[in-house]
Subunit: 247 residues, 2 copies
Amino acid sequence: MSVPESGVISLKRLQTACESCSLFQLCLPLELAHADLEELDHIIKQRRPLQRGEYLFQMGNEFRAVYAIRSGSIKTFTTTDGGEEQVTGFHLPSELVGLDAITTGNHPCSARALETTSVCEIPFDRLEELGSRIPGLQRQLLRIMSHEILTEQDTMIWLGKKSAEARLAALLLRLSSRFKARKFSASDFNLSMSRTDIANYLGLAVETVSRLFSRFQSEGLLEVDRKHVLIKDMGALERMAGADHHN
Amino acid sequence: MSVPESGVISLKRLQTACESCSLFQLCLPLELAHADLEELDHIIKQRRPLQRGEYLFQMGNEFRAVYAIRSGSIKTFTTTDGGEEQVTGFHLPSELVGLDAITTGNHPCSARALETTSVCEIPFDRLEELGSRIPGLQRQLLRIMSHEILTEQDTMIWLGKKSAEARLAALLLRLSSRFKARKFSASDFNLSMSRTDIANYLGLAVETVSRLFSRFQSEGLLEVDRKHVLIKDMGALERMAGADHHN
DNA sequence: CGGCCGATTGAAGATGTTCAATTACCGTGG
DNA sequence: CCACGGTAATTGAACATCTTCAATCGGCCG
């Protein structure tokens, strides 16, 4: 197009302004001065929304930026030498993706949009540089990473130990609480990922996941119609998720 | 005792001096100036060694410091409301423990010595303060945390997906490579944790773990005598660890 | 409308768990 | 120093859970 870029850019900046972003509290819950916030805004790039199936980055890519999800959702996964996928996580709006690449400088996993998804790109070198000047930012970064470690550990616990039903229950509850934190319904939502992805993530066979959904439904715990889930008995799910094989 | 403290302190300082620590490269692999390194040394406290079974910290304790393990080993674990343990990790010399507590300000898990263990205590407020003054340190901190996330993810993958034999094989290989990085034998080492801890960590029954050890031995993969392990066929273990249920 | 991929369901088989009994080890106290 | 008791580890057999293989159903997109 022949239109000067400046107009487009300022429009983009408007869209990405952290201050006006409804997710900001969750994304980088800082107590920053207005001026600092503007500086942060300036380094953040808005990318063209990703279509379903598009890659945000691929395993091995050089690490340049972390990404905050604005809308939509993505899955992260590694691929073994045999070419098989191993899903490592699902990511919702306000969550940061790519933090696991800092150490090595390369992305250890791929990230792919599960639906139309828009993200903020935050170049890491500039973020670090900014962090050394803004007292609260560096601290906040550490806090976010610590939180990430905590979440992973939590995930490890239920993935490692529990029965199939406990795993699926736990996944549904986690999604539910994350939706809730984002002011969406905690009991009525859509799964953007396929059964295959869920099974892969949980370390189960697709058939097992499918059977579990059916059983949960027949037991009155929830209603499922394809991607749509309505939780009818949160308490029962919690009991399941908490329980080990037997007790 | 009535001896002036200064003498004791300078002795301690000598013991903990990062510069002379054989683990330093692994612990905080910085390119720091001598003067900066001394500053770092000054904030690090040496604690009386922990006896087997002693706690480094307990779940819920206020977060004050991160700990670098100098010798020995510890396990971290959470306890459910029912009082059952869930082991979340085993930690060897040069590894940092407690990073998962930064966000909340309280330790999300307990840490307990598996054998006589000595640690360096690094008060976090002073570390953060120091980080804002020393350019490389803050960056290194982020890098370590990122690495931690990466490790956890990795753990998640094999804990979530694989068969029992693959899990145990993977655990042995991880321990092996960590020993190797610390200049110990990669194929001949002692397990400081009990079978019960291993089983708990891997999400298996103790009996299964025990049977696996027996089987691995009968298949000539390794020799086990109680805590002592001698790996005889590293390649076979790697194939097992990489493999899913069937392939 | 047809084809195709994702999801579901059934039945047989494999893997891991549970229960129970036995053995080996370690620290304690006689 | 040895005997004792308690805990950890091992092993066997029955059972439960999850997987695999196979067939069918159902949307969705061209």
